[in-house]
């Protein structure tokens, strides 16, 4: 730590050069933050996956419905603690651009399976008692300025009503939050399945998919097999998987977005390393005689190596911290604007990754000049200077 003053002074030997290098590092980490947040949006389902939850879908595809009659048989399967069902409503609010997720559900069952959702008891009761009641997530309510007591129309793209209408009206009875961190945790709306099933023009008696919670001591894989076997060779065969596997395979439908993001970042950081490495070696080349003086004064080869390496790390760290900081602010800002469509979020893991990249990039960019500085022989260097 006592070398810090020396390292700091050396780093700012050429202010323009160091500032430019820090700025390129800044840009690289800003991009890292933004692209990580976008990557999060594509895998958002997996972020809320619960190992004890299973998803039961129609074996043909997710969009083929299942009969509501399956619910009791699934509930009776050994190892199943609670079951609820979901259906994709696919509506929008006022404008086609305002799409967000709505699900007709059974209130009690839904909350027993999705135990991470938090809703005040009196709001839950009010929702349960109101056939046309709905509850919305906090992020959704914030975006559209909804409050409890509002009556909102949702335009259906799939589910026309029996009377031919496409506009479904709901009373907001509650606003829920989630114990799970991360954008996208509260960007959907729930309403009563009973109302939905009676009012829709077609598809009555079916649901989209089942979600169930297994007993803590049950083996999820065995439970999944048992469910699928029950419905084998029936008109609607099922495919049961863990929520996590389901979310992961759904994310893959978009193509390998993660791979593309990683390729871009690799290109960015490769360039960054070149810039930073070049700066460091220029800087070392300029002060060969100074390094020799340090050694003359009694600095060992190793401590000279460390001062150069630490300087590279310092430059990387300043740029990285600034880049991540601004990136984080940008992600938060964008999320409050567009979060219900594209939930953007910087996970703690992203910060850890950034830290590791920072250290590795610092070492890679500093190691060659540092070794050069370490191997310097005093007599040669002084004679040259």
């Amino acid at each position: 730590m006592k070398y810090f003053g020396l390292i700091w002074s050396n780093a700012w030997r050429k202010k323009i050069r160091t500032s430019l290098t820090i700025l390129s590092v800044f840009v690289a980490f800003l991009l890292f933050a933004l692209l990580s947040a976008v990557g999060y949006a594509f895998g958002v389902g997996a972020n809320f996956a619960d190992a004890e939850r299973l998803i039961v879908i129609n074996k043909i595809t997710l969009i083929n419905p299942l009969p509501i009659a399956y619910q009791n048989r699934i509930a009776a399967t050994p190892g199943v603690r609670s079951v609820t069902h979901n259906t994709w409503f696919g509506g929008y609010y006022q404008d086609e651009r305002n799409q967000f997720a709505q699900f007709p559900v059974d209130p009690e069952e839904y909350f027993s399976v999705y135990s991470e959702l938090v809703l005040p008891d009196e709001q839950f009761e009010a929702w349960r008692k109101n056939r046309t009641g709905a509850i919305v997530g906090q992020a959704l309510a914030d975006q559209y300025g909804w409050e409890v007591g509002d009556r909102i129309p949702i335009q259906a793209t799939i589910w026309t009503k029996a009377d031919g209408g496409r506009s479904w009206e709901f009373d907001i009875e509650g606003i829920f939050s989630s114990k799970t961190a991360g954008a996208g945790a509260t960007t959907f709306m729930l309403f009563q399945y009973d109302y939905f099933d009676e009012a829709r023009a077609f598809g009555n008696g079916t649901i989209g998919w089942y979600v169930l919670r297994v007993d803590p001591d049950a083996d999820p894989v065995q439970v999944a097999d048992a469910i699928d076997q029950q419905f084998a060779n029936s008109a609607n065969e099922t495919e049961t998987s863990t929520e996590e596997a389901f979310a992961a395979s759904f994310a893959k439908q978009y193509g390998d977005i993660g791979l593309i993001v990683r390729l871009i970042l690799a290109a960015v950081f490769f360039t960054l390393l070149l810039v930073a490495g070049n700066t460091m070696s220029q800087s070392v080349r300029e002060r060969i005689s100074e390094l020799a003086v340090l050694k003359t004064l009694g600095f060992t080869d190793m401590s000279v190596l460390w001062t150069v390496l630490a300087e590279a790390l310092l430059i990387l760290a300043i740029g990285a911290i600034l880049g991540l900081g601004v990136g984080w602010l940008a992600v938060e800002g964008l999320n409050s604007q567009f979060g219900t469509q594209v939930p953007l979020y910087l996970t703690p893991m992203a910060f850890v990754t950034a830290f590791v990249i920072m250290v590795v990039a610092g070492i890679l960019s500093g190691i060659m000049p540092a070794l050069q500085a370490m191997r310097l022989t005093i007599t040669d260097a002084l004679a040259r200077g």
Binding site: Y3, L6, R13, L294, T296, L297, T300, I378, T379
Partner: protein
Amino acid sequence: MSKPLAKLQGVSRVYQKGKERVEVLHDIDVEIPEGDFIAIMGPSGSGKTTLLNLLGGLDKPDAGTVVVGDAELSSMSNSQLSHWRATHVGFIFQFYNLLPVLTAQKNVELPLLLTRFSSKERAERAAIALDIVGLADRAKHYPRELSGGQEQRVAIARAIVSDPTLLLCDEPTGDLDRETADEILKLLQILNKEHGKTIVMVTHDAQAAEYANRTLLVDKGKLGFKAAA
């Protein structure tokens, strides 16, 4: 004459220059008494600087032994030599070799980073050293803001700050005008007489050599003391 501080016995140093073998020093024996002020003179390429580097543990002989104080430099490792230099010897160069990115004060403190002193103690000691060389009022200045003579004084302060017994000077006045050079040489004399530093100074300025107690002549790898004037 007091006991020798440094003793070179049978020292040879050979450089390989391309295909040519250059023997810079050949079988040298020399003793430097503690508290002495010796000037080394000789033509370019005669081995003056090599001799100085050997005394400072910057270079090792191909044959013979170099002993300074209790330390046998010729048999020490590079990192042992580094630690030894930090406390036993101070260097003064022709071009001062201050770090341009540090203030005078911080330049002087540099060798103390290798000690256990606290930052407060380091600052105090550096201030004393700057005071000795008469630059207490220039502590906050960067090297580019100082004159050549002042830079050399800072370099001298840096050389003495860790209180070494031996000061090695390589053409300390080579880049200075006469008047400034005389001031620097007087300062070295004071350090020798009042602070008891043993000084070895390479120079090819005969007037500079006169400030020393004795002059050692080096030519074609051989030594000889100049008769006292």
